[in-house]
């Protein structure tokens, strides 16, 4: 995948969701942080400096293509990866045991990876990205293949790292999850970053609002100019211009009958994503 204009910042202590359709350039961008691909021009910097090996080992990476040594014991490979990232052996052991315990694998430390269930292998993969206590986490589709409990514990880990001041960049197709966890978003399309910023600000600044009004149990179409219906089935709602006054909407709806449901929100991430990439 070729990248053209991919510029964005990951800030310490903040979580950046990296969105884009398949083939948009997410994985290539993440690989370029780790010099796994070489850009023809442009630079990846950390605190304004080019990234050297000493800095690189302070990053944690979970590639989209998961992989570990199948026949190596779980603890051994995590200790190995942690020491490879510059931890001394005793710190690496302590950190490995702590994370395996927290991820519910405390009793499987001496099992070979291939003897673990798929879900547990995913947990070890997650541990591999964080065992050396990185300053920056780069996670490529970290939630894919996780069950709801796995999703929860990974979200918790991500938030914990952010609260310790680590920068976090992760890509996902699960927009509701991103909306839930992220403070910042970047949307990439055809190798180009087309939207970047604080998620709440982006939503506030949107020129439209999503409204869902039910009068007498029926979806009610607001009689204001520019309003239109989107979604299907239970997701049906309306889009109105951001300048439309909420109180006026409420008044109009009340005049139409008895209001059984009323919601007026900034657009969801999925709306913003749709608008940005579909155009």
């Amino acid at each position: 995948m070729a990248l053209r204009d991919v510029s964005f910042d990951v800030h310490p202590g903040r979580i950046l969701g990296f969105l884009g359709r398949n083939g948009a350039g997410k994985t290539t961008t993440m690989r370029s942080i780790f010099k796994l691909v070489q850009p023809d021009s442009g630079a990846v910097t950390y605190n304004g400096q080019p990234i050297d090996l000493a800095q690189l080992v302070r990053f944690g990476y979970m590639p989209e293509e998961r992989g570990l040594y199948p026949r190596m014991k779980v603890r051994d490979q995590l200790v190995y990866l942690a020491t490879l990232s510059g931890m001394n052996t005793s710190d690496a052991r302590t950190s490995t045991d702590m994370w395996l315990d927290r991820l519910g694998l405390g009793d499987r430390v001496d099992a070979k990876l291939e003897d673990l269930s798929h879900g547990n292998q995913q947990r070890v993969q997650m541990a591999a990205a964080i065992v050396h206590d990185p300053d920056l986490l780069v996670l490529d589709e970290p939630f894919s293949g996780l069950d709801p409990i796995g999703v929860d514990s990974l979200s918790e880990v991500i938030r914990e790292f952010a609260s310790k001041g680590a920068g976090i960049l992760f890509s996902s197709h699960q927009l509701d999850l991103v909306e839930h966890i992220c403070e910042d978003v970047a949307i990439i399309d055809q190798g180009e970053v087309i939207l970047i910023g604080d998620l709440n600000e982006i939503r506030e600044e949107a020129s439209y609002r999503r409204v869902l009004i039910e009068v007498d149990g029926q979806l009610w179409a607001p009689p204001v100019s520019g309003a239109y219906e989107v979604g299907t089935g239970s997701k049906r709602h309306h889009i109105v211009d951001a300048s439309v006054d909420v109180e006026q909407l409420l008044y109009l709806a009340g005049g139409a009958g008895s209001i059984t449901r009323f919601s007026y929100e900034t657009p969801a991430l999925s709306d913003i994503f749709q608008e940005a990439v579909v155009k």
Binding site: P50, V57, F59, Y80
Partner: protein, 406 residues
Amino acid sequence: MTPTNQVWIIARREFTERSKSRVFRGVLVGLSLLIIVGIFGVSLLVGRSDTTSLGVGGDSPAGLVDEIAASAEAMGADVVVIEYPTADRATQAIESGEVEAVLVDGHTIVSQSGSSGTVMSILSSAAHVAVRREIATALGLSEADMVSILAPVQIDVIQLEPEEPEEPNQEAKAVASFASALVLLTTIMMFGQFVAMGIVEEKQNRIVEVILSRAKSSSLVVGKVLGIGALGLVQVGVLGIAAVIGLMLAPLPELDGLDITSVGLTAVFWLIFWFVLGYLLYSFMYATVGATISRQEDMQSVAFIPAISIMPAYLMMVFSIESGPGPWVRIASMVPIWSPILMPFRINVGDAAAWEVAVAVLLVILTIAILVRIGSRVYRGAALRTGARVSLLEAWRSGSEGPETS
């Protein structure tokens, strides 16, 4: 964290994880025992076949048995003499295979088919001496006269064109050089192939991306080669020590000047020395070709490249084992990809001058340095390419480091 630390950590993992393998340990113990038992057994066989059983029967002159023993000792042969009461019994003993030849009635040598020249001269000279002793006794000569008459005449032999005296250790050296060349060839190829398999395995498992996100690709290649090489060194060392133990324990026939233990120890030293050089050279070649594939099934399509590179050296050595190294072998032994097989062969048979060894070693080291660079670059270009085989040239091109890589 420096690249050197990472090389060390990667090498240590390769070594410890692979040395845990039951197959590796089993093969090592099995081969060592096989070598010790083999050397012991062969030396027993050699020792036994040196003893010849001879017999006497019928009306023998007095002291014949002692004369046979004395004559055998003079000729450096190890014989056992069995006395039979009658000529018939003695002849039967030949037919039953109990003895090789018998001296009947003090004047007739009977054997199954043609006996060796040594056996014939032992028996006939003993018969001569015994018969003459009887005659001398009958003539009434004193013991002193008898000794002086019967004493062997010292004959000097002068050759106008003397043959080169055959070096006593020649045969042992030829065996040692063939054996060590065989060990070199098999271990270099075996552990070289382990390197290629290890690289493919990491691509296939996809762990390569996890590793390369925190270590340089050259560190991974070099660390892997060193770790697996250390394991190979352990194997070669243990097998070499087993061979020396076998040589020391074995009841080897004591032939003049043949010090088989020192020949063995020297061969083991050169074996380890050339294993290190040969392994490094070929393992980086294996690493380079291994990087271009992503599945073990494709291994055969690339592993033949190092294999056909090393084979000519082995064939040249085999063909010159009898005749000794000719001019072509001398030239070929200076070619870096062939030196690791041909140079130890020349050293073992005593053909290599010190400067030739030194130049060959330097050339091999230079070649290793070049192959490390090629291997690391190809690996960097192909490590994340999965699926079909990547051409070497393509991998080389995409393996160039970006402008601002530090």
